[in-house]
């Protein structure tokens, strides 16, 4: 993937018939209403670059930065033109020509250097209230929670005093005839939301799974893809390949929608071995459904006072067709009174480097979720991606609403009885 040039997309670029359908689905276009930000425009500009009609200049870089890489347009494009991949390729070309931004440079430094990341996160936990100065600048977290968010009154989770993977042995044996499941934690769960990781373990243990948490694993690479940093993406892919080839897991689970995209779709494009491994990457909600957890949840004793819960579709699951399983899990929980909210499938507006460069637009895109959340009357908004959780809580706070955002897995773990 990282080796693919814009030129390699010529055929796909030609497949855009300029119908304009993407205008209906692109969150950025929804706010800006300018053709250069919608997939159709970006594709026309990519074509113009290949034809030599425009230069690889500031203006071009600016246009290409106006993309959340959410894939919403690809999903609905009648010709399935991969606008997001075309933007990624264009960003790589920009980085190659002009070098990374200072932001991108520190990113790659930290991403490539796990001890630096660890040190950074540990240090941060001591200063939790002012943590962002201490979060390793390039851990991937900074990208997702860029400085602008933090300087405002955004509520951010405390950085874990001990990152998730440091708390557990690499291998947790389960029942003999049960599958071996590898857990790809991703940076967010590892550093910021270890609680989600704990829920994952609790659920998997309860199901008797043999759990493997490779200690050598790294970032899924999505932040670097978003920044157009092809070299870093490649290094990370190498590291993850080595880490996950050490055993032969039956599945590799992700509990973060973005990691799922990074480790399935993008990782697969590096080669045959990666492709084989990527086939095993499964969103945990899909896995839980497949393993019959829904039936088990339905059989739990009824609760008298269920909580009203709505669900937000992370783009990186929705565009992979994963929309039913998370809802089915929520519906099955006796303690949950599930309500479908309006605009559940709207993008939250985070989008990797997008929110770094276009904070105001990102906020506007997010704000469009607020009316649906309010009207639902839900007490909790559940979702399946820590990145979305962060953004959603911010949206809710900014709108002065009372809801709390949770991961579906936390709700499940709370209701499942302890492992005997």
């Amino acid at each position: 993937m990282s080796s693919k040039k814009l030129k390699d997309f010529e055929e796909q670029i030609r497949q855009c018939v300029k119908c304009g359908t993407c205008q209906a689905y692109c969150p950025v276009f929804g706010e800006q209403k300018r053709e250069s930000v919608v997939a159709r425009g970006k594709i026309a500009l990519a074509q113009a670059l290949l034809d030599g009609d425009v230069e690889l200049d500031r203006r071009f870089a600016g246009d290409m930065s106006q993309c959340l890489l959410c894939g919403s347009c690809v999903d609905k494009c009648p010709n399935l033109v991969p606008a997001d991949e075309i933007v990624m390729a264009a960003r790589r070309e920009i980085t190659e020509k002009h070098g990374p931004t200072s932001f991108g440079r520190s990113l790659s430094l930290a991403l490539k250097n796990p001890s630096l990341m660890k040190w950074g996160a540990r240090g941060a936990s001591l200063f939790s209230p002012i943590l962002f100065k201490k979060v390793p600048e390039g851990s991937g977290l900074r990208l997702r929670f860029p400085a602008p968010y933090v300087t405002r009154d955004r509520i951010i989770p405390e950085i874990a005093s001990r990152p998730f993977r440091d708390r557990h042995p690499e291998f947790i044996p389960g029942e003999k005839d049960k599958p071996l499941v590898a857990f790809f934690t991703g940076c967010m769960i590892h550093f910021m939301y270890p609680q989600i990781g704990e829920s994952v373990l609790a659920i998997l243990r309860r199901m008797g799974m043999n759990i493997w948490i490779p200690s050598e694993q790294g970032c899924c690479g999505l932040p670097a893809i978003s920044a157009g940093d092809g070299a870093t993406v490649e290094e990370l892919a190498d590291r993850n390949l080595a880490a996950f080839e050490k055993r032969e897991p039956d599945v590799i689970l992700t509990a973060c929608a973005s990691c799922h995209a990074g480790m399935s779709r993008h990782f697969a494009e590096f080669g045959e071995r990666q492709k084989e491994l990527a086939k095993k990457v499964t969103d945990i909600h899909v896995f839980l459904e497949r393993e019959g957890l829904i039936e088990e949840l339905k059989n739990l004793p009824a609760k008298t006072d269920p909580v009203r819960v709505a669900y937000h579709d992370p783009c990186h699951l929705r565009t992979q067709g994963i929309t039913k399983e998370p809802r089915a899990l929520l519906r099955a929980l006796p303690g949950v009174d599930y309500i479908e909210m309006e605009g559940a499938d709207r993008c939250c507006g985070l989008g990797g480097t997008f929110s770094v460069y276009h904070y105001e637009t990102s906020k506007k895109i997010g704000a469009r979720k607020a009316p649906g959340i309010e009207a639902s009357g839900a007490e909790l908004v559940a979702t399946a991606c820590p990145g979305c959780m962060m953004q959603l809580q911010d949206i809710i706070n900014q709108a002065g609403l009372p809801q709390k955002v949770v991961h579906i897995l936390d709700l499940i773990a709370k209701e499942l009885p302890e492992h005997s």
Partner: protein, 459 residues
């Protein structure tokens, strides 16, 4: 290239963030859904009628062409800046100004997206029926300018049937109001209707007053497979004769079905040679009775299989079959010409047979589908532009398709308009006196030919 002085004036009128002469923006506003390419010299995003008025006055005195544009989803090149000049984009003017539940009218700016308007009125129990397949992204201004139609127009009519009044900036820059708020109104010429379908050549629409209906209580969707196109066509006539007007009556011919089979893997029985998608709406009891009656009437006409949707999700599944058509065509050949002829509905089977013959004669795949209920057939000529001789073949085929439609008492275009793509053919349909009458209107209103020149008429 516009003189820097002109660009400065434009910036003074609309603000500098709303004017661009950057190459990148010129490229982004050089195309529409016809995939032609004409670069404007400037792209302007005005915010209101006063600004548009000033732009047009300036354009008149400077002799600069102005090309109105909504979402750029047009299928006939209507918004394309064929002579450079200014691309005037309405997407900033996207407010729904009011929804009046007492009088069942609404007033909107032209840049409002069709579906967003529909959703807004449906929230208060009202209904705006026109439903072009592009409704998720097309603008209401573009819909009025093209008089867009859709599947529901069998029962509910097309865009112009819902437009009560307009605010228009004339080509010379005056701001006028046409029609009004009332269902009736006969003072002076019906300029509202004149503007509907005028393709941005007679004025820029800046406000639209829209008639609304109460939202039907429910709807019911049916998919019926026939063993012949004649059976399907007789079905349409039989339903009409039984005095039932369904909301939609969509059909697909056997070559369309073949494309869908190949592209989607949907299991459609081999015996099926034509499909009708029938939808009825209204009170719950009424639509139950109507749908039963419809199935009864068409049963003897060679029905292979029937599916009746019981839930909105099942109804959605049926419409998915219809929507899969367009993308599936690319699997046959990379390029297509999508003509939207319209014939009296009883002539639909004759027209389809004629189209089949034309395809055979020129040895190019042609598939037909569309709105059987109103005779509007989408004839898709599938070619590979890069293959030698294909373009010429397509051109001949298009002409023959038009000629057949006209000989059956039909028209070259039911929905998409003339723009620049059909301009070379209009003399096949309009006699010279009628064309001259239209041109006289255009000349009188736009003597310097500033507004959207090069469209509808060849000059």
């Amino acid at each position: 290239m516009l003189q820097p002085r002109i660009v400065e004036i434009l910036k003074d009128i609309v603000g500098k963030e709303n004017v661009s002469t950057d190459k990148s923006d010129l490229i982004c506003y050089s195309y529409d859904a016809t995939q032609q390419k004409f670069l404007p010299d400037a792209v302007v995003h005005p915010g209101n009628a006063q600004e548009i008025s000033l732009i047009l006055k300036m354009a008149n005195s400077e002799g600069i062409p102005v090309f109105p544009r909504g979402a750029g989803s047009g299928f006939s090149g209507g918004s394309l800046p064929v002579r450079g000049g200014i691309s005037l984009v309405t997407t900033r003017m996207d407010r729904i100004l009011r929804i009046d539940e007492d009088n069942l009218v609404a007033e909107v700016e032209p840049g409002v997206v069709t579906e967003q308007f529909q959703q807004a009125v449906e929230k208060v129990g009202l209904f705006y029926p026109p439903d072009p397949a592009s409704l998720k992204f097309s603008t209401l201004g573009g819909n009025v300018a093209e008089c867009a139609g859709g599947p529901r127009c069998v029962k509910y009519g097309v865009t112009k049937d819902y437009i009560l009044g307009l605010e228009v900036v004339t080509p010379k820059g005056d701001i006028i109001r046409t029609g009004g708020e009332t269902m009736k109104g006969v003072v002076g010429y019906d300029l509202t209707k004149l503007m509907c379908g005028s393709e941005g050549t007679l004025g820029v629409i800046t406000k639209i007053i829209i008639k609304l209906l109460p939202k039907p209580e429910a709807k019911k969707t049916m998919l019926v497979l026939f063993n012949s196109i004649d059976g399907a066509a007789q079905g349409v006539s039989a339903i009409t004769r039984a005095k039932i007007i369904p909301t939609t009556l969509e059909f697909m011919d056997s070559s369309t079905l073949e494309c869908v089979r190949q592209a989607t893997g949907l299991k459609i029985p081999e015996a099926a040679k034509a499909v009708l998608i029938i939808e009825v709406d209204g009170d719950r009891d009424l639509i139950e009775r109507q749908s039963e009656r419809i199935l009864e009437i068409i049963q003897p006409l060679g029905v292979v299989e029937t599916q009746v949707a019981r839930t909105p999700a099942e109804s959605e599944d049926i419409w998915k079959v219809r929507r899969s058509v367009s993308p599936s065509l690319r699997k046959v050949n990379p390029d297509k010409f999508n003509e939207d002829i319209c014939v009296p509905r009883s002539r639909v089977p004759d027209m389809i047979r004629a189209v089949e013959k034309i395809g055979q004669r020129h040895q190019i795949p042609i598939v037909s589908f569309g709105h059987a209920g109103d005779g509007n057939i989408h004839v898709n000529i599938l070619i590979d532009r890069s293959a030698p001789g294909e373009m010429e073949k397509a051109d001949h085929a298009i002409k023959e398709v038009f000629a057949e439609a006209l000989s059956m008492g039909g028209t070259m275009s039911g929905e998409h308009g003339v723009g620049n793509t059909k301009a070379p053919y209009i003399s096949m349909e309009l006699d010279p006196a009628a064309t001259e009458y239209m041109k006289a209107v255009k000349r009188a209103l736009d003597p310097k030919n500033i507004l959207n020149p090069g469209k509808i008429f060849l000059e």
